[in-house]
């Protein structure tokens, strides 16, 4: 069949992610991969999952296997109200919509809000999955300026003043890919700016529970509740394979998200939702979270100390207090893709940072390093090999910088 005749115009805009190819290479045997973006399997509460399932099946019986409301499984939504209240987010059961991972929220947001050519304000670099969710609907991205403390509120102010932005998409805490966190003063200013311009923020928050040091910061949702779609997930605090996420959205948005979701997947797995609900209400999360943080804290320390030890001059990197990623920037003119292959040959993988930008030729000098999958020893080895690859490739340039 002639697929070019069949495909909708929007389909040409769906690009095969080159990142997928990189991640395939990164999974080759013998490779130490800092390329992925997935939680360590040891972070899952595997030992209790069979018991959790038995408990859910005995509590809900066939209802755990039956069709359910598009909005979500009642007991999970109820458990989330308490969980969110403890995070400063006030949401009644009815205000919480369960989705198939946080990706499910992003797709629905794109579908109901983005008309072709509409402007969406983002950080650059940003979470690639959000771009993949939005792209089919044909947005035009407006990039907000940012530094190590995250988005500059003045930049948001300028962009909103132009009056054409449909919504803003941010990952304020331990961002993917940079690991950066927007500080408290900026959160307050961003919340105030959203309210003054009556603008909508999609606040994607998969990582805030993964804080290994420092103090929690309030979500922007808690500061401007009527102007934020808050997006959460169980992927990093329970298990990503269950594909259970959720959002708390202003009513006017939420009703359309539900209608959209009904056409996309009817509802999220009832069994997965019931397991997530039991995990919350049975006190399992409270017991598991300290274990997850204890697992990742030394890995974060290991990568930061390896970067300081091995990276040649001219490189800087983020110093996150949590999350899964560290962001490395080389001098202008450097192209990390150029020594990516050399690192692979040394059996160490990373992701060149350019893949996290919406446009071409952006962030060529950057790279994303994940620290949740490898052991501390392997993190040290991998950073050393990446540093050697960078140094070999740019030997003359980098020496000149010293």
């Amino acid at each position: 069949m002639d697929d070019n005749r069949l495909l909708a115009p929007r389909t040409a805009g769906l690009q095969v992610s080159a990142l997928r190819e990189i991640l395939k290479v990164a999974n080759r045997p013998g490779m130490i991969s800092l390329a992925g973006g997935i939680p360590a399997p040891e972070s899952f509460p595997l030992p209790i999952m069979a018991e959790l399932t038995r408990s859910v099946l005995s509590r809900y019986g066939a209802a755990a296997l039956q069709y359910d409301a598009t909005e979500g499984f009642g007991p999970l939504r109820e458990a989330l109200t308490g969980y969110l209240a403890a995070k400063g987010i006030s949401a009644a059961t009815d205000e919480i919509l369960i989705t198939s991972g946080s990706q499910g929220v992003l797709d629905a947001i794109g579908k109901i809000l983005i008309g072709r050519g509409d402007e969406v304000a983002i950080e650059a670099p940003t979470y690639l999955g959000a771009l993949q969710a939005f792209n089919p609907y044909g947005p035009r991205y407006v990039c907000l300026e940012a530094d190590d403390q995250g988005v500059l509120p003045d930049s948001l102010e300028r962009v909103l003043a132009a009056g054409r932005i449909k919504f803003i998409y941010l990952v304020p805490t331990f961002q993917n890919p940079t690991g950066r966190t927007i500080d408290l003063a900026r959160r307050v200013r961003i919340a105030e700016t959203l309210q003054r311009h009556d603008a909508l923020l999609v606040e994607d928050d998969p990582y805030s529970e993964l804080r290994y040091m420092g103090s929690d910061l309030p979500s922007i949702k808690s500061l401007a509740p009527d102007h934020v779609v808050y997006v959460g997930t169980f992927s990093k605090i329970l298990a990503p394979g269950l594909r259970v996420g959720y959002c708390v959205a202003p009513e006017a948005i939420r009703r359309w998200l539900i209608i959209s979701k009904q056409g996309v997947d009817l509802h999220t797995s009832t069994l997965g939702q019931a397991l997530a609900g039991e995990y919350l209400s049975g006190g399992h999360l409270e017991r598991q979270l300290p274990l997850i943080r204890d697992l990742y804290r030394p890995k974060l320390k290991a990568i930061l100390s390896a970067l300081a030890r091995y990276l040649p001059g001219g490189f800087t990197w983020s110093k996150p207090e949590g999350g899964m990623f560290v962001w490395v920037e080389g001098i202008r003119g450097l192209d990390t893709s150029a020594f990516y292959r050399a690192a692979i040959e040394r059996n160490a993988a990373f992701v060149p940072g350019k893949y996290f930008y919406p446009g071409p030729n952006q962030g060529l000098e950057t790279m994303r390093l994940n620290f949740t999958m490898a052991t501390e020893e392997n993190i040290d080895r991998a950073v050393k090999r990446i540093a050697e690859s960078a140094q070999d490739f740019h030997q003359v340039d980098l020496r000149a910088l010293r």
Copy 2:
């Protein structure tokens, strides 16, 4: 916030389904509902689910909880190749894409194929979930003519000859809502017509395993493999709450379905997929299917005999050999919505058939009756009450017909 300013143009086309309200009323305590479209909870293999989960967790460990490939969980795709081969569908592991319910295929099909104003050929009435999946992308529906043996091949021929159809959507076996099945001779002609016009059929097949009498028919996919996206689901043979479906699509379509799915939900629940795979490969489906058929067969007999006993003259109905629905048609000019309220007051619920048509004022004289949820005794009672409501409301008209 002003949501009208925020919403994309396509969003206005997403209609709140009035059917949802009907189904809410149908779930009131004391109601005997023939309105739903869901399998009986007794059809689920509830007793083995805890053991199945234990077995999956011990076989795959943390991999059953981890992120997985968008295409689907390997062991499930492998198990499906054998299952499909037994149904006459030849598909390699790589040709099978796992989705979040069959709804996930329909959404992806709409997204990659339908441009605004593109023509999609459908049966009318048809599965409402398909229309909900396609509508956001702005199709124009072209209705194929049909009779009790399903779509008329001549009608398909005429519609394809015009050369503007993007794809055809059919539920050839025990259709929702009519219960009708396209007979063998027509399947052969439809397959031949698809091939001659190089046209694409989306064959949605959730019910063919639910055959209580008569002989299996070949899928259209098995007759024209290069021109059909075959859509299957575990919702009726395992449990709908797991949200595991799949499709076998020509390569040119499949690669775009995968890219689309990546933006929508990354992948379907790994645990749900692992359970479905184990259910197939462990021989559990083989044991469960006869139980499911034995559960539903007497219910089908009960509804057909109650319809013959109670319905006043002027009504005709489909006589399916399987599935979940019987379709009732009154005389032209009748409006089943008119006595719907009276039936509800008698504690018997059905769905007026007009909700299953793409346009207004179609199928006013029809209704859909589900027979999988109620007991045989309750099916008899509900049909009696619906018949009484119809008779009371149209007393004069119906007497005049006798």
